[in-house]
Subunit: 408 residues, 2 copies
């Protein structure tokens, strides 16, 4: 029997999805499971996008150009330039989701053994995409105590070698929700210029900034056009995760041309998606205002509920729709499995993603979980009640009632 | 300015698409261009599939399971088991087109430096997918003179090393249209078992077999379940290339589980596509009968027209919708560019794919082109007239009129 690849053996299972069998079992057992593990919003996809699908009028479902249809790229230019990106259709390659944007950009810029620096915790699948092509991830720890702010530039410099080719940031951040400041982005720019590094800017959550705070793309910064590669997706922006439609944006012509070769190998992105994506650009501002209001309210409720629990700490993030919370537990992987397998409260339980899967450093995040606030407030409240009750009885709980009483 | 990757520099441009700028220019100049370069059929997508898109009734365009929706995988089981594959939903991973099926299967089974044997000429993008992960392609020449039959097994054995992990076959073949016989498939089976190799079976053109000939999948052969990985797509079957919907089928559980990890990293295939793909399985036989009749007629006309031209030879293939023809030319790349740039007949010209891009061996196929018979007979006839006239005046023509006269 032929062997699978070593790469395949090393490839990490998704920390977001690996507990799915336990959740499925819980459901079979009749429990209601609140899914906070995955960034699959319950928000409705804009009507214009759905109608565009229903109104398709082609007879042959054909390939599109490998770089995306010109009509969709024109609509994307309209969307991005309204935000100040100052791009043309020649700066865009349409991809199958943000996932493919990341894969292709990595392959165009990095070889096996090359290193990419990523502040951790980070979107777990960066590990997967790096593993695919034997790229080495060099993590830099960020800390829950300061809300997962960008680590000091000196920490980046400590791990830079002649193999370092790129930095990946996800802004607003998945999994922490942290929104990078102008000062932090400026510092990253100086670092990229000093060491001639790419900045891969994963902007999947661009539209999700709260409390009036502003998103800063590296595309807004002067003098680093050759360094910046934006990786984007419609998944979260329009609650259209199943569309698998994203893009690469770069003004670096060598990167664009090279990325196109990888895009040509897989022929094209989806045609129906590009039709729907074009319609999506005309989504009215009122849609985003309503969504922002809803997420702000959910975040406030979730963060408040968490911080009221004994021994729990959760920073209040500026963007995205995730939080990472520290729990009084011995092992997040064990806890997240236990709460699905062994626990229920009013016949309900919660699925969360252990934060360990978002760190590359062994042991980091052992007592942290990521939660996506993609459910209605009422469901979130029920989920938090479950979590609170679960923490009281979890066998691996790390504070006892006497300690608690003493601390109060 | 940061450098692009060496991998990206080595990555071949698509031989099918690289002449596109010249075709675009010809169109701007007012010429009609017959596209025989790409396997984009003009056949209409089945109505049931189109209607499934128009009738979607979801409010949230959501992720699907990474292995594909259970409902779509059930329909696929229905499709494949009718053909005798004897599989379950647990043997399938739904992918974004056949392209992703190939990429994922390669990553699950092969590491950088591992070798895969492919009879050439072969589907050019195998080179691209292999390059992506630094897999080494070992070509085995097949020859136009015997219609591109499978090379003798002894030729495979000559290139087998301890790095050899797999054989890729495309059956019916792209670009040659060759349909492998039972004897050839049995020989491949023995080879795979003897050397413990995977057989990657690209079956994109399964439905396109002519003259009553039968398609043999390695899934029909006993005793090699652990070796076989079928790579499939709906692109050609239902003339739905822009759907980007394919799958991996394998009974090898280690390969399935490992492939799923790569599938999880990219989250999911498209949701609308899986809905449409489910409907496609109910496409009536009459659709396929009409399509088969149409392609048979086109193939006959194309092959006849080619073989009537001075100095041209084209075998009559048993399947797919491609032919590779030998032309009296010095250089197929130059010729295919010249006919777009410099030539027209009645203000019309033809886009073809130089066969060189389908060979890995330098120099092989220098006087061959691939043509896809994806246009109506009338258009094919016009295209052939253009080609015939072009061959008469092409400066790099390798036979002259005196030679011709002498040979007659």
């Amino acid at each position: 029997m032929p062997k699978i690849s070593q790469k395949g053996q090393r490839m990490p299972a998704s920390p977001i999805r690996k507990l799915t069998p336990y959740a499925d079992k819980a459901k079979v057992d009749g429990k209601k499971v609140y899914h906070l593990n995955i960034g699959q919003p319950d928000i409705e996809t804009p009507e214009g996008m759905i109608n565009a699908i229903k109104n398709i009028d082609f007879k042959v479902w054909a390939y599109t150009p490998s770089e995306g249809t010109l009509s969709y790229r024109k609509k994307l230019v309209e969307y991005y330039n309204k935000l100040g990106y100052n791009i043309t259709t020649e700066d865009i390659i349409v991809t199958t989701g943000g996932s493919e944007a990341i894969s292709i950009a990595m392959m165009a810029c990095l070889d096996a053994g090359d290193e990419v620096i990523i502040p951790e915790p980070f979107y777990a699948n960066y590990n997967g995409f790096a593993s695919q092509t034997d790229i080495v991830v060099k993590p830099i720890l960020s800390y829950i105590d300061n809300g997962f702010a960008l680590p000091p530039i000196s920490e980046f410099e400590k791990v830079i070698t002649n193999k370092t080719k790129a930095i990946i940031i996800c802004n607003p951040n998945n999994p922490t929700g942290y929104l990078y400041s102008q000062e932090e982005m400026d510092a990253l720019k100086e670092l990229a210029l000093k060491y001639d590094l790419y900045i891969f800017s994963d902007e999947a959550y661009r539209e999700f900034c709260y409390d009036g705070r502003t998103f800063i793309s590296p595309m807004y910064l002067d003098g680093i056009d050759e360094n910046v590669i934006v990786l984007d997706t419609v998944s979260k922006r329009y609650s259209a995760c199943g569309a698998r439609l994203g893009c690469i944006i770069t003004k670096n012509k060598a990167v664009w041309t090279t990325s196109l070769k990888f895009a040509q190998a897989r022929l094209s992105a989806g045609m129906v998606e590009q039709i729907a994506g074009s319609a999506a650009v005309d989504t009215p501002d009122s849609y985003f205002e309503a969504v922002n209001k809803e997420y702000t309210s959910r975040r406030n409720n979730l963060v408040n509920a968490l911080n009221k629990m004994d021994g729990v700490y959760c920073p209040n993030p500026g963007g995205a729709f995730y939080v990472v919370a520290k729990l009084p537990i011995d092992n997040a992987d064990k806890f997240c499995q236990w709460i699905l397998e062994e626990f229920s409260y009013n016949n309900q339980t919660v699925m969360m993603a252990p934060a360990t899967g978002f760190y590359s450093t062994t042991g980091a995040g052992y007592n942290e979980v990521r939660m996506a606030y993609v459910l209605k407030n009422e469901d979130l409240q029920n989920a938090m009640t479950c979590l609170e009750e679960a923490l009281k009885v979890y066998p691996g709980r790390t504070i006892d009632n006497e300690q608690l009483a003493a601390s109060k």
